[in-house]
């Protein structure tokens, strides 16, 4: 019998799940919609049915040791999803407790960026590191901080919200209600906002000027930057400048050995990494300079969402 866990990544639109072995191999995977279920009871029933169906072919070869869930506003200590803005289920959902009805194994739930950070440590570039940070650059900016070999969950289970540190006191309006949060600058959405500001500030011609706000995407900005579009290049320079400065501040908190960037925007490679690293080194306190690496995630092209969720529970079982 092969020992496996269920890894589930709950996104606002889709939920991905997988059966994952101890080495991070995803043996089976599948997905269900998230937003078609108005209540969590129907959602969990559907999710479990789909998992059961998916594992049928290997059911007699595996032993399910636990389940890990990555979810927005997931609380590690309580197994709850609390006031997640992108989910239909409002208030505090006792997700882990409710799911025990379907399968009585150890269940761990945390937010998706924490899951990604643990995945990076178990299967990716952070293997063997005791102090590191993972930044996920998607629609927003998520983060997971590891120090002394342990995930920093904080006293309330919600630590690691670097997307909401302040860049500018009266800066861009964020979905959280505050102004000037990092994720309004450094994320797929953030770079789009930056491009629109630059189309105002700069006078150069640019292929980005043909798109309206709904049409423009970070991928289009990346493609334009590769073609040396001046506004697209400047958008990445500015994004990297802000990101580097705030990662330097993060170093002043936990002094990690490496910082891993993951997600769509991180795939831009050098176009993002070069200005980020330049600004990072400039903003670091001298004692930290030239020794902390900023790297692409080692799991960039893999199913990190599911692997991360599975890593949550493998880490717990390995304790």
């Amino acid at each position: 019998m092969k020992q496996v866990v269920i890894g589930v990544d709950i996104g606002g639109t889709f939920t991905k799940f997988g059966i994952v072995d101890r080495d991070g191999n995803v043996l089976i995977e599948g997905s269900i919609p998230t937003d078609t279920f108005d209540n969590v009871t129907d959602y969990q029933k559907n999710l479990f049915d789909e998992i059961e169906k998916a594992i049928l072919p290997i059911k007699n070869e595996i032993e399910i040791k636990g389940a890990g869930f990555g979810a927005p506003n997931g609380n590690y200590y309580k197994g709850t999803i609390e006031f997640a803005p992108n989910l239909k289920w409002k208030g505090v959902i006792h997700f882990a407790e409710l799911f025990k009805k379907y399968i009585n194994v150890p269940i761990v739930l945390s937010n998706d960026a924490n899951a990604a950070a643990i995945g990076e440590g178990l299967y990716g570039g952070a293997k063997g590191l005791r102090d590191y940070i993972v930044i996920t650059l998607g629609t927003g900016l998520g983060s997971g901080l590891v120090a002394n070999g342990e995930m920093i969950y904080g006293f309330d289970g919600f630590a690691g919200e670097l997307g909401h540190v302040m860049v500018e006191p009266n800066g861009r309006r964020c979905g959280c209600g505050k102004l000037g949060c990092l994720e309004t600058y450094c994320s797929a959405t953030g770079i789009k906002r930056t491009a629109f500001k630059l189309m105002c500030d700069m006078s150069e011609d640019s292929e980005l000027r043909q798109y309206n706000f709904y049409e423009l995407t970070s991928e289009k900005i990346f493609d334009a930057a590769k073609r040396k579009d001046p506004i697209a290049i400047e958008a990445f320079e500015y994004t990297g400048f802000i990101l580097g400065a705030k990662l330097a501040d993060a170093v002043a908190h936990t002094s990690p050995e490496a910082i891993f960037l993951f997600g769509g925007l991180a795939k831009a490679g050098e176009i993002l990494f070069k200005p980020t690293i330049k600004s990072f080194e400039e903003h670091l306190l001298p004692i930290y300079r030239n020794k902390i690496k900023i790297l692409p995630s080692g799991l960039q092209d893999k199913n990190i969402a599911v692997m991360g969720a599975s890593a949550l529970i493998w880490k717990e079982l390995g304790k």
Copy 2:
């Protein structure tokens, strides 16, 4: 035989030492100058001689189990003091290793703010807390971050330098070489700089206007604020506003249960705490609001420097 440790706080001008028992009682204390010794060899010899003299009366009643040192730029992993700007001994000093010549007991060395944080946890207001931050508001701003019950030293031993997170991209010149560091705003020196800016910006009369830059101190600003001096009050309001905003950012990193403020400036009490807490709550991500305490250090009027240094080694011996 009473089990005790030696606690030593190495400051730029003075070094304080004490013999401390497991409960944090300072049985004997003393001090020597720091800056009269051009090399660390002479300094250590003098320090040890003075400790020996001081403990003579109780020599037969105590057993020295270890020694803890709090020092600027102290490195926990290596026991070194590295490139400390305020000390005469330049470069990397293998302090702990060198001190073994005098007394062969376990020795731990870290920076003074980390020592204060461990002291707060062992003897002060953070007793029993697994996640907290201590901020020392002296000439500069020091910090010690504890998560999962462990001090965050970072991969290089230098974590917790919140005095050097960025407040403004092209802000005040800091001693570290950067611009806009937090300690140029929030410290005894920082509030003095703020008072001078306010004497420029504001037109109100103020008793602070009679002092030149060398004469003005944070104590004078505090005294004037108590007398409702408008510039002094505004100086505390501004200091609290900046401090609160940056502590909110720190929460987004490690989500502590409480943040303790220690040092001269923190003694201002409500005049500093009120605007700090107001700004803190405003700048927090909603999920963190109204649950994280900002408190005065539980060791405010005690010899925290020596107690903190002793806590470093007691914590180590207790592991």
